[in-house]
Symmetry: C2
Subunit: 223 residues, 2 copies
DNA sequence: ACCTGAACACCGTTCAAGT
DNA sequence: ACCTGAACACCGTTCAAGT
């Protein structure tokens, strides 16, 4: 790839991410091109279709969230190590896994609510793209690990999986969509309620088993 | 309104509802007109814009859900009346309010998941329309009444409002969107989890107060 | 190789001509 | 009054001409 192509690709991705976040994913390609300072045709040289452009940005954001989750996971593991090693100085071990899991979910919801395009993309499209699939799997893996930690705390019921967590993040971000940003932090209310539903105290048997990776790949093919 | 106009309006609404439900809200107006057997221009005689057509259908569906909720509410009230009157023959009074509330939420989610347009409309648009606002308020009122019943049972925490319920219905329907209909009844899993979060047993204090009607009207103006 | 803007097809919306 | 399809503006996508 030539140097100017490289540079244009970056300009394009940045401009597109900003425009999508501000105005939703129906901003015109022309407008994005202007903001990036490149020709309209150049957009389609880098991404065969507008949807593929959205897809690339979406995958990037999922990867960012996965990285956040992995950092949180290292935190709980390190803290656990300290606990078993010395047994002093650390906070209450019983809630650490739950805190990390809630922080992860909060980060996920927060990323979506500030970003109109993310909201819309998360809902429907772009799941077929292998790039997005890979990011999704990484996300589910770290979610599963964080859930396992919280389970060990006894603060999360044992029939909840990493895939459940990813889907609940999605659900929580959509909860307040009808209100726009009229009540800025409102999503925390619903994430809290959902998190209470994850606790063992109120757990009732679930009517349907958790989805497996198979179902996600099947959905990707079907779309 | 002339008789043929009346007839065309009905044909249009039915065709549009079907097309939207099957293919999402980006089906072309031309296609809807063909299915309705009317001219493209006639669509715009009945609804000034495509979005207003969507809005009308959306409001209708919200009204349908409100009616379901009101029927459920009459059911619990009637049952409660029998209970206090005779005190025999009825089922366990303690869970009736909870059952009705869950049935209401299930009906709401079910209506959305089978309907691609409903999903997308619920997410973003059309909240400004007064018709939709009225339907929304009616929905929130019946949700509030059902919640009150469940509270009396002691099966729902007391910091949950009707507006919360409406937003949670929205959230639950979006939860499984990434999976399409790969796992048909999967939404029941997440509605169950959320419902467990509504029970007093696991209730933790919520970080943000419930939204008021004011916020919804403000959001409507802003959109 | 890559960039560009004019050209094309499609879709929402308008409107002049019909009944 | 209401219906209709041709006409318009706009947007995603393509491509011939440039460097």
């Amino acid at each position: 790839m030539r140097a100017d192509a490289m540079r244009n690709r970056r300009l394009l991705l940045d401009a597109a991410a900003a425009e999508f976040a501000e105005h939703g994913m129906d901003v015109s390609v022309a407008r994005i091109a202007v903001r990036a300072g490149i020709g309209k045709g150049t957009v389609f040289r880098h991404f065969a279709t507008k949807e593929q452009l959205i897809t690339a940005i979406f995958a990037d954001q999922l990867d960012g969230l996965a990285a956040t989750g992995e950092a949180l996971l290292r935190g709980t593991e390190a803290a656990a190590g300290v606990d078993t090693g010395a047994g002093v100085g650390a906070g209450p071990a019983v809630a650490r896994g739950a805190d990390a899991l809630l922080a992860f979910m909060s980060a996920g919801v927060e990323a979506q609510v500030g970003d109109r395009a993310f909201c819309q993309a998360a809902g429907a499209i772009a799941r077929a793209d292998p790039q997005v699939r890979r990011a999704s799997q990484r996300l589910a893996a770290v979610a599963e690990a964080l859930t396992a930690e919280a389970r060990h705390d006894g603060s999360v019921r044992d029939d909840v999986t990493g895939h459940d967590i990813v889907l609940l993040i999605n659900a929580a971000s959509q909860a307040t969509a009808p209100l726009g940003d009229t009540v800025p932090g409102l999503w925390r209310r619903y994430l809290s309620m959902m998190f209470d539903g994850l606790r063992p105290a109120a757990a009732h048997p679930l009517p349907v088993p958790a989805p497996e990776e198979t179902h996600f790949t099947a959905a990707a093919r079907h779309a």
